[in-house]
Symmetry: C2
């Protein structure tokens, strides 16, 4: 068979089956945007003829990583809200209130570049203005599953007041909903299917029951999923009890929200009973280890979710919280934070991190028919990771293999050399081929310089922990 590309002589990690599906000295054949063959190098070379042969000796070939939850524009505020209390009110809000939509679009490209350069091929981006941000994914050539942020909070609300019940503004809700519908109409299944759309109710406490039901109905109509923060913190629980006398998951259950369409983000405050309810109904969990550790000092109950039979995926959340849109970072944190939470080194082994960033993630976001494993017939979203690095050597294969622990506990992301998305080489020798990286960085930096200037007085007025650190020479 004549194909476009063969990647040969690799440690091929297909992620098929229950483990990592390792084929030593493995090869993949790609034609157009599809994987048309996998097997040993000998098998593939004897049955395929390729336009281009990539030698992946001393390299791991694996499915592109899936970032199941991020807010890409958060990169604008990277490093500006850590080690503090009230990170949203005192850290981000004084900056965010001075930020314009086109500036958010520029900022989002930083997150996407960082992600692709560390092996992410699919981004579940939950952001506004998504109708414009989606253009970044088109340009860079990444796969994206995107939602516009929908809530019913009046624009004048500012940082969310603590304690009081939020006011809802139905007109604002409808305006934001229309943007999400417009996104769906314009972009769903576009770019050869590389762009797909979700509905994005921000959280159960941030809109009326009516709007939640409208979104649910739309998700059914367009046969897509709902990307939504659920049980993400005390504040949400308090709002829901005050408004409805119920915790969020019980409330969502009454609304008929708990099914396979629900991609529930964080679940930091979910109890074991609530988790059993979620998993029994088929909802999936988006787990963001780094962000929740840095912002809240907590480890969400992902192990309970997995033990209850649920499907969970890893996400970076926002660079404004986590500082990092690098799934290698996230895989490592997931494993280590859960070992520490359970005080057991066997908990959350390396292979589970790899699965939650590939095959399980694909299932959790509803794209497992297309991506998540290296399987004949699936889309060619593939990364090549160089393990010939002092930090990843030695490599042994017999009688045990050390590649899986080293990818999770040792690799840093910069070992990713080549990124192929939908059959197209988007990064090679660590250089992005589809955009001008330097120029994109400068554009984002310019924007932030202006925001910081406009926000100056508000930041100074916030008297945040960070400002005190700055004055005392700790920053």
């Amino acid at each position: 068979m004549k194909v476009d590309m063969i990647i040969a002589n690799s440690f091929l990690m297909t992620m098929e089956g229950k483990g990592v599906g390792m084929i030593e000295n493995g090869a993949v054949a790609i034609k157009d945007n599809i994987i048309v063959g996998t097997g040993t190098t000998q098998e593939i070379l004897s049955t395929h003829r390729a336009e281009r042969l990539i030698d992946a000796t001393d390299k791991v070939v694996m499915p592109g990583l899936i970032n199941a939850h991020l807010h890409s524009a958060g990169a604008l505020f990277r490093g500006m809200a850590q080690d503090m209390s009230h990170w949203m009110q005192k850290g981000l809000w004084p900056l965010a209130k001075h930020t314009q939509e086109e500036e958010r679009v520029r900022g989002s490209l930083l997150s996407i570049m960082e992600g692709v350069k560390s092996g992410t091929t699919t981004f579940c981006d939950f952001e506004t203005p998504m109708n414009e941000i989606v253009g970044n994914y088109v340009k860079i050539g990444a796969r994206a599953r995107v939602a516009e942020v929908v809530n019913e909070l009046p624009d004048t609300i500012g940082a969310l007041p603590v304690g009081e019940l939020y006011p809802f503004d139905p007109a604002t809700g409808q305006r934001k909903l229309q943007k999400n519908i417009c996104l769906m109409e314009q972009w769903h299944e576009q770019e050869n299917g590389r762009i797909t759309c979700l509905f994005g109710p921000q959280a159960p406490d941030m809109m009326s029951k009516e709007l939640l039901l409208e979104l649910k109905e739309l998700a059914e109509k367009y046969n897509t999923r709902l990307h939504m923060h659920v049980a993400q913190g005390d504040r949400e629980i308090n709002q829901m009890i005050k408004r409805y006398g119920k915790r969020p998951i019980a409330f969502l259950d009454e609304l008929g929200y708990l099914d396979q369409r629900l991609m529930a983000v964080h679940l930091t405050e979910a109890t074991k009973d609530e988790i059993r309810l979620l998993t029994s109904k088929g909802a999936s969990m988006m787990y963001c280890p780094g962000a929740i550790a840095i912002i809240d000092g907590l480890v969400p109950p992902v192990m309970d979710f997995v033990e209850a039979g649920g499907t969970a995926a890893l996400g970076t959340d926002s660079a404004a919280g986590n500082n990092s849109i690098n799934m290698f970072n996230e895989m490592k944190f997931a494993a280590i934070l859960n070992k520490v939470k359970r005080q057991d080194p066997k908990v959350f082994p390396a292979w589970l991190s790899l699965r939650m960033a590939t095959v399980e993630a694909a299932r959790a976001i509803g794209l497992d028919h297309e991506i998540g494993t290296i399987t004949k017939g699936k889309k060619a979203d593939i990364i090549i990771v160089n393990v010939d690095d002092p930090g990843l050597r030695p490599v042994i294969g017999d009688p045990i293999r050390n590649i899986v622990p080293n990818l999770v506990y040792g690799a840093r992301g910069h070992e990713v050399e080549t990124v192929i998305i939908d059959g197209r080489v988007v990064m090679e020798k660590r250089k992005l081929l589809t955009i001008d990286e330097k120029q994109s960085i400068i554009a984002a930096q310019d924007v932030v310089n202006q925001i910081a200037q406009r926000a100056h007085d508000d930041i100074v007025g916030s008297e945040s922990d960070l400002l005190k650190m700055m004055r005392a020479d700790y920053l």
Copy 2:
């Protein structure tokens, strides 16, 4: 003044004072191996003339990182003992027992290369055979503070038996002690003072009281410190109670061990009272967040140690446990694991991680008169970190600065471009100038291939968790 080198236009983080000592648009002047001037670029350029001018625009210039505890030869077994119980007995021992001394020397170079390439300039290496391993530090040009591992355990003991009291063999103890003394005699203060030596009692449970006292006396005689694991696990506590009826720290106190000379590693099991005792006597703590999280699923009480007024330093421990000899990894883990332990995002701020890898580390290992800050008169151990990277952008300086959180929560180590040790450029544009990196990797890989072959039957016989994972396609 005529100098050899000026590094200008940088974010200069001197680490002086109580914080990070940031000088925006700062410069450093170096003559021979000494820092001869620091200040703003204007100040330095107007008073110094340099042979070589390095432009560090968009770069952070900071003290080289100090890895306060590692076992460098552990890189031989990277990724071969994670996610399992009995990591020492079933993971490492089946390999270690088939490993020869010259093979350990080759393996150690992997750790050192990984460390230097991620900004480490000083290595507190606790390893055997140190008389030979020290040659790697000489060759690569790093600063090292080294100890030979001394214990009194018979060579035939193998993996330490659980439950029984270890037998001691005084002849073995004396043989190992002589190697440590020989190291001290041959290498202490050599290579322009770049190599200094410590005594290395492995742990209080692994030798007789008599040998411990002999080591203490030698440390006094040579006016150096003792690098020693203390309260590192249940097993040690049980041995000490069984043998002496005392917990290790109380026992060491009776022996007069608790003073400034003691560099106590791990302290995983130390109580608050024991920590107060240690800090009141001036002993320092070597804290290895990643290794202890992966091996034990625990977070040692470093915050208690700091709150009790003690001096603590970060270390990577062995790549056989931690998988990583990268201090950027360690800085991030230290901050995040302690936030989670205390369930408070304000705990262990980024600046504290930076200090525990530089100025506090220098104090903890007794080299603060020479290194740890960028200060006139100190040795020129300096790294240059590029922050013009999609994962570290944007950079803002006013009214708050985001560099410190980004270095700790965002940087991965590969952003280190240049490493200067004792005034000599050891790495430039990420290329090691002093050794053949490729050749050194191949040499280590060859050695491990042979060990894995020799160890084959013992690994298979171990029936470890890893072996089961391997058979089930999880590795």
